[in-house]
Structures are given as C-alpha cells and as structure tokens.
Amino acid sequence: MNVRPLEFRTARSTAEATALWAEVPDAYYLAGGTDLLIQMRLGRRSPARLIDLKRIPGLSAIEVRGDGALSIGACVPLGVIAAHPEVRARYPLLAECCLAVGSYPVRNRATMAGNVCNASPAADTAAALLALEAAVEASGPNGDVVLPLAGFFQGPGKTVLPAGALVTALVLPAKAAGCRGSFHRLSRRRGVDLATLGVLVGRHAAGGAGAHRVVLTAVAPTPLRVPAAEALLDRQGAAAAAQAAEAARAACKPIDDVRGTAQYRREMVGVLVARAAAALG
C-alpha cells in the first residue's frame, strides 16, 4: 500500500513538464487520469509526483496543419474529439471509436493520448488510429520524436515511447481522410464496458491496392492490424468477407480472461470481420 506523500505539480510548458519528470523517480504525467488514478487506487502504480499537462498551451487544441493533417492535442478529451467537425467529416471511424470508450463523464475527462499510452490491448481508439496510420508526437528529455502508431504498442501497458517523454499530439495524415467503415465490439453489457473484442474494417475512398483496413482489439497482446485480411479485401472487396474473416481468425492471438474465452474471441473475430466487411458493400 502506497502511503508515501504524493506531490502534484502543474506544468506550463512541455519543457517544464519533462524537467519536472526528470527531477524525481516515479514521476507520472497526468492528462485525464481515468486510467492512472484507478491504477493508483489499486496499488499498481505508486507515483511520487503527478505532473498535470492540462495547462500546457496547445495540448488541448485540435488543428488542421498546413499539409492537411489533423493534429489532436494530448489533453483533448474523447468527447470533444468525437464531436469535432473535422473529425466527424474526415475521420468518422475515429469518432466512432472515441464514442465506444466508457461513459459520457469518462469521455469528458479521458484523453486519446492517455488511451494510447495506457496501451491496453482493448483500447478502442487504437483501432481507428492504426487504421488511419496516425503518428504519435512526443517531447522528451532528449528532444522531440515522431513515432508511427504502427509499432508503437509492444504489449499490454508497453509502448516504445522513450522514458520521460510525453505525448503532445496524435496526428492523422491528410491521406487517411475519408476512410469509412465500421467498428464492431462485443461486451458483456451495453453500457460502459471494456471490449471483449473489437473489430474495425475500413476502406479508403480511392479503393484499389492498400485501400482496406482490418484492425482487431482485445484479441492479442496489442491492438492488431491484419494485412492479410486487408489484401484479400483489396483484391475482391466484400466478396472476400469470409476469407478475410478467416485470415483475421488466423492472425489473432486471444487469451482466456474474465471477459471471455480465447475460443469465443477467435470465433467472434471471424463473425465480426465478416459482418463489417460485408457492410462495406
């Protein structure tokens, strides 16, 4: 049980934040806190210092960059992202995945950067971010880095984010705009539940090679893109729904846990990929 004092600091710039992080061991960045505070209460994390990022100018902004990319600041709550006109118009799959997380109050607090850094295999927003080939922008003690989301997740709770780095923004490339499809998830109840599994199938408007996206959540140590299933859909479209489903079943590596068995998850990956692929028309 953590009984040592907890220090709360507010950073006004990313430089100040990273400096505050470097000063003491066991410092944690705080955005929405909807994962971190629960982990603290459960004794899984025992921070000595929390560094609040929400007062850093720019981290709460959504903006279109010169190259047409959409940058979503690390401290923007999921509810704001899902309601943003640019997101809804250009990246509707992201809005859909944001709305799959938690409840209204949770979405008004939780951030997408937090969802990504928490690196849960069941992270709903990761499905859309992987499909849209988003990039993670971070500032760290050794300078700024840009990390593609593909390869960002290393396992439950593990990412390639350098120690001490804080995510400043998630960036959706302009070329990913207009990708449409659907996100299907199964859970034990309808309201507020972690996904037992999730399946996103999307397609870029241009079509052709590389147009399809198939992403699975909660069926592998990380959210998982399935290139084999995508390639099948690229070649034959919805006609290949059943084969794509089979490819996704083969690619997933689910486990048994309190939310479902590995066997059920694998079977449902097939069912949901087939459905989502068929829905592309």
């Binding site: 049980m1 629960i38 199964l186 034990r188 309808r190 309201g191 972690l194 059920y264 449902m268 459905r275």
Partner: protein
Amino acid sequence: MSDKPTRWVGTEVPRVDGLEKVTGAARYTGDLKFPRMLHAVVVRSPHAHARVRDVRLEQAARVPGVRAVACGKDFPFHVGIYLKDQTVFATDRVRYVGDPVAAVAAETPEAAREAAARVEVDYEPLPVILDVADGMAPGATLVHPDLGSYECVPWITPKGGSNVCNHLKVRKGDYEAALRRCAHVVERSFSVPQVQHVPIEGHISVARMDGAGKLEVYTSAQSPFTVRHLLSACFKLPHGDVRVVVPHVGGGFGGKAGINLEPIAAALAMKARGRWVRVLVDRSEEFYAVVVRQGLEATLVTGVDKQGKVLAQKLLYLWNCGGYGGYGVNVVRAAGYTCGGAYEFPNLWGDSIGVYTNRPVGSAYRGFGMQEIHWALEQQMTMVAQEIGMDPVEFRLRNCLGPGKSTVTGQVLDEHSGRIDLCIRKVAEELGWGDGRKEPNRGRGIACAVKAPAMPNDAASSVLLKFCEDGMLEVLISGIDIGQGLKTVAAQFAAEALDLPFDKVRVRGLPDTDLSPYDWQTVASRQTWATGNAVLRAAENCKQQLLGMASRAFDAPASRLRLANGTVLDPETGRSLPFERLVMGYQFDDGHTIGGPVAAAASFIPEGLIFLDPETSQSPKPVAKWTFGAQGVEVRVDPETGQFTVERIVGCYDVGKVVHPSLIRGQTYGGMIQGLGTGVMEELLLDPQTGRPRNASLTDYKIPTTEDIPEKLEAHFVETPQADGPLGARGVGEHTMIPTPAAISDALFDACGIRVTRMPITAEKVRAALQAKKKEQPTP
C-alpha cells in the same frame, strides 16, 4: 381489511423523503463527521483457508498516530444471527479470502494503512474447498471443526463433524411410490453462482465507547435493533448500554441485514475509549469481504402422469454458503420449506442443505434463496411440459397452488393467500401467449415466483405515534427506508386511519435504538405489512383518544363522531374541532382541561405460526404469508454471436392491495432489472486454486446500466386481500427479481431451442449452446 374507499392508500402521494434526497439534505453514515474520529483499516486474509498460527500487532501499534490495534486474541467472541459460527476477528483459522484477522485505528487513514501493513500474521495454508461437491465429499477438510459446539437457534440443524451448516428435509406423501406411477420422468441439474448486492453505498460503521461504558454505533444497516441485540450478545453488554443509530441508507438488498462491520468498529472503539472509530470497506472489498449471495447446485426429478399432473417431485438444493453460515443457514431453511415454488406437489422429497466452503460469506440477498431455486424449478417445469407436449402455461396452471391447495409443508391455502393462476393468466395474455406468432430468433418465456417472509416466528414491529402542538402527526418507525418507500407508505397508512391531510404527517424513520420503537429487521418484504399494521393499530388508539375528548367537548356520544380531514366532526350538529384543539388536551371555556397529549404505541407480530416438523417439515402454518407472481419476457437473439436483447419484461403480482402505484411499479421495475443483472451478467469469479476474487471491481463485475434496461417494462397487479395485511396488503419487494432469469432462459429456448442451466446466461454460453445444438442436428 376493508372495502371502504380510501383517501391516501392507493394514491400517488409524493414520496415523503424525496426532497431531502434530491437536494442532498439526506445524510448517510459516511457523511457524518465526528470530532476526533479515528480511521480504521481491517487486515484481511489473503488465504481462502489457513490456520492462523500467530498475529503480532507490536509493529503496527508503533506507527505514529495509531490509537488502537485488535485481533482475535483480544475478542474471542462468537457472533451470528442464527448460527454463531463467526468471531469478530479470526482466532484459529481464516475461512475465505477477506476474512478479518485484525484491525487498526489511527488518526489518519494513511497512518491506519501503514499500521495495517505492519500487522504480522503467520498462516499455515489448508486445503481450499470452493465447490459444494468437495465440501460434501467423504473425508473433506472441515471448514469448521468445532461446528458441533456452536450456539444456534433451535430450528437450525448444523451437523458437527461435517461441512453441513443446515439441512432441511421436506417429506410429503410417498415420493417413491408416486414416481413408479409416472408416465414421464425428467431429471435435470441447474446452478447459480455467488453474486454480490452492489449497493451504491458500501458497508460503513462508526462506533464509540464512552467513558461510562456506553457503546454507540452509527451504521449503514437494515436492522438497528438486531445489530444492538447481536452486539450486546457478542460483547456481553446490557442492551441498554448499546445504542445503534441508522442514518439514511444507500441501498441494502439484504447485504446490510443482520450484523456486518459493526463488531469490528465496536472492538476498536473499546480499545480506543472515548474516540469515534470509523470502519468501511472500499468498492473492491465490498464484492467479497463482507457478504455475498450463496451459490446453488440444484438437481430436480419430476414425474408426471399423462394428463400433465405432477405426481412425484424430488429436489436437492446444495447451497454454497461460503466460510460462515450465520445468516445463510436461514436461506437454506427458507429454500427448504418453499422448495416446491408456486406448485402443488402431492408427493415430494426435498432436501435443502447448506455447505461450508472457502468462498465469501453467503447471506441475505433480495429474494432470500428464491431466485436461485426458481431458476431451477421454473425451467424444470417448462422442460417437463415440453417432454409431454403440453403448453408450459397450461402445465403451470394445471399444477399451481391456489385456495384449497396444499403447499409442500402441508399448509392448505385459503381465499386470502393470493392467486398465482391469475398472475400467470395476466402475463400470458399480455405476452400474447398462444397467438401462434413465431419469428426467427425471437422468443417468449414465462416463469412464476413465490416467497414467504423468512424470519423467526416472533419477528415483530412496533411504532409510536405522537402529535405536535399544531396538529401535525409524527410517526416513529424503526423499519428502514432503503429506497423501497417505507416512510411514504407509513405516512399513507397514518393519514388514512386518522383522516389527516397528507402534509400533516411526518415520518421519523432514522431509527435510534435509544429512542425509537422496536423493529426486528427490514428484510423479508415485511415492512409495509408489519409496520403498516402497527401504524393502523396505533392510529386507531389515537383516534379513540381524540373521539373521547371530543365526545366530552360536544357532550355527544363518541359513536356518533367521526374524523374528517384533521378535525373531529359531529355530523348531527355540524360542530367540529380541529386536531390542534385536542392533541395537547382539550380546554373548556371555563378553563378546565381534559385528556392530554395524544400518543400511542402499537405492535404487530404474526400470529398462529407453527414450527416445522424436524423430520418432514410439515406444518399447517410455517410462515406468515405468501406472495405469488409471474413474469414474462421477450428476447431477440443474434445467433452468430450469442448476444441477446431482453426487449420486454411483463410482471404481475398478487400484492393484496396496491398501497402506492408508482412506488410499487418502481419496486417491480427495479426487481426486474436486478433480476436481469443476476440472470445474464453477474458472477463473482474466484481463482479456482487460491479462491481469490478475479473480478472484485465494477470494471469486471457488471450490473445493468440504463442502457441495458429493456425497452418495455410493465407491471400489473392482482389484489386478493391478505387477511392480516394492512388494508389487505402483502409484501412484494423481493419477489420482483425472483422469476426474471428463468423467464429469460425459457424465452431463449423459445427463440432458438437452446437451454442454459448455469446462471448467468452470457452470450458466450448461448453461442456454445447453439454450436452444440448444431452438432447434434447437422443440417441435411
């Protein structure tokens, strides 16, 4: 009972505690801040079963700010409402993960946590029993080696030298002979896991022992007097030196019946004399550390003749009581004498057996064993009907109880006992049963429910009525309004009996055992009925006092006078006196005064109850009353995923008298939703080796949210007056969650031909059953 039209009972008066609850004025135990209050942390066992070799508190006591430390050595006292099988802290062994071993109280929560971490306990792990089969196996490790020496009430039969904490045998007719005459016999097994109540407000108690030795306890509880009684017995204190106060309670569902955290708070308070000590459990501990609902393994054998009449019925209920059976033994008993549910079984062999295991402690939970046994029995009835090709509704009507029919204990019901047949018919009609409508993957199901108050024969309620100078009536009750609306109902009965404007009644319902009238417990769906009766009796007494004074004031015979909207009226002369001229005594014009402050106390105790025969459980009146009902369900199934939607639940209950239409609808809808939760998503999961909980959080123990509530919930009522009910009313609070899971299961069978016999009915189980069915019947 009366056919007289009513003014307040049966109407939609505003909820009397609504304003204080919605404005936040209502204060709960956790809101109370006592001067210099200490914070406690309970050290709980990480082992499901272990010998406790030593507990060392020295390091803990040295933490700065610590004011009290306590463990089993300090208080080797037994506690338990029916079977005293638990101690305040574990003494020689721990019996479930979460069993209290020691506790500390300190000036700050942080100091208490640090001290708790420094309590040293030497455990010697013992074999862990999680299933009833293992607990019943010959040579099984004994969870309570001293069971034979525990104190218990005479109507509980623990078997020393075994893990059986209670066994009720029901023997009626000649089961074996009848079975041989049956055309069809169906045998099936069913199971129900342990589940948790999940009240919004968790368990919390605050205690102090003052310098004079008086123990005071503020606690979130359903039963202040029972808490006082059991605390007194445990710590050997005179009842008069123990005071229990219950502020507003944020939900109980049975989990706050009996006694829970109070002895731990009291023990620490005795060690830190003069200081208030607060003990609570966090949300995670709430799932396993205090109480849960028992698990059930049921096996039923049903024999029927060709006409669809059940001739022979055998039932074996094995209850997974967990580490202690103090309260749960009575669930075992209630399930025994109600083992046949809403049906007449002329030849019956029933056994209800409580088995100790190393699971969390089973206790009272809304329905008190009835949802569990109805899960088995109601599905069984449908399966038997299907076996003989009879419609399940017709089969139920052919076998159900009713006036003149005999229950499993041989009690013959009369015209006041309630009508299950009318409830079944109403639900069937609402569902359009038998209309031939059949859509793919949609189905309908019906299940029945019955329950009696499971309580000692002498469970009583009393109330006190007194007036304010302005004619306002104060009604003191000690039943707890745990959300069911008891205070409103008590006000309705009082206003009705004294013909008062409704806003001239105040119900004082935050009982304080020093000041409030006695009430046994707020359990068993008994409060509207028991407190309601006591209120009517006390009101009648007040009425006679008022009429007596007015009779002298008017110089008119009292028999001619009547109460009219807060006045006493002489209809012949038209003269009237408002209550405020009478309630403090009546003064004549010359100054002489008669009467005096009007007040009355009254009691209600059920009369005519007879103990069960110890060998056969036969009794002409084992319980005070029965409440019958039925629910129908419509579901839609996604056969590929197994996910299903309960679209509609229709209920009908014979409640004797609808006292408050929207409160009873709220009770019914709430019960349906709680029934849905236990039916389709709730299960306390333990690690099969260690017995540690795997989903002790709201992240992974799910209860329904508003999004999970069926689109249509409908409540209907039959009003067959209860002979000893206040204006004919009988209890219904628990019954509303009893039939839901069985009805859902039947609806799923109707939708896609599968049957899930192990609660909860998850999508994954539905999918697996569909796959199994596909294998059995390969498509040509």
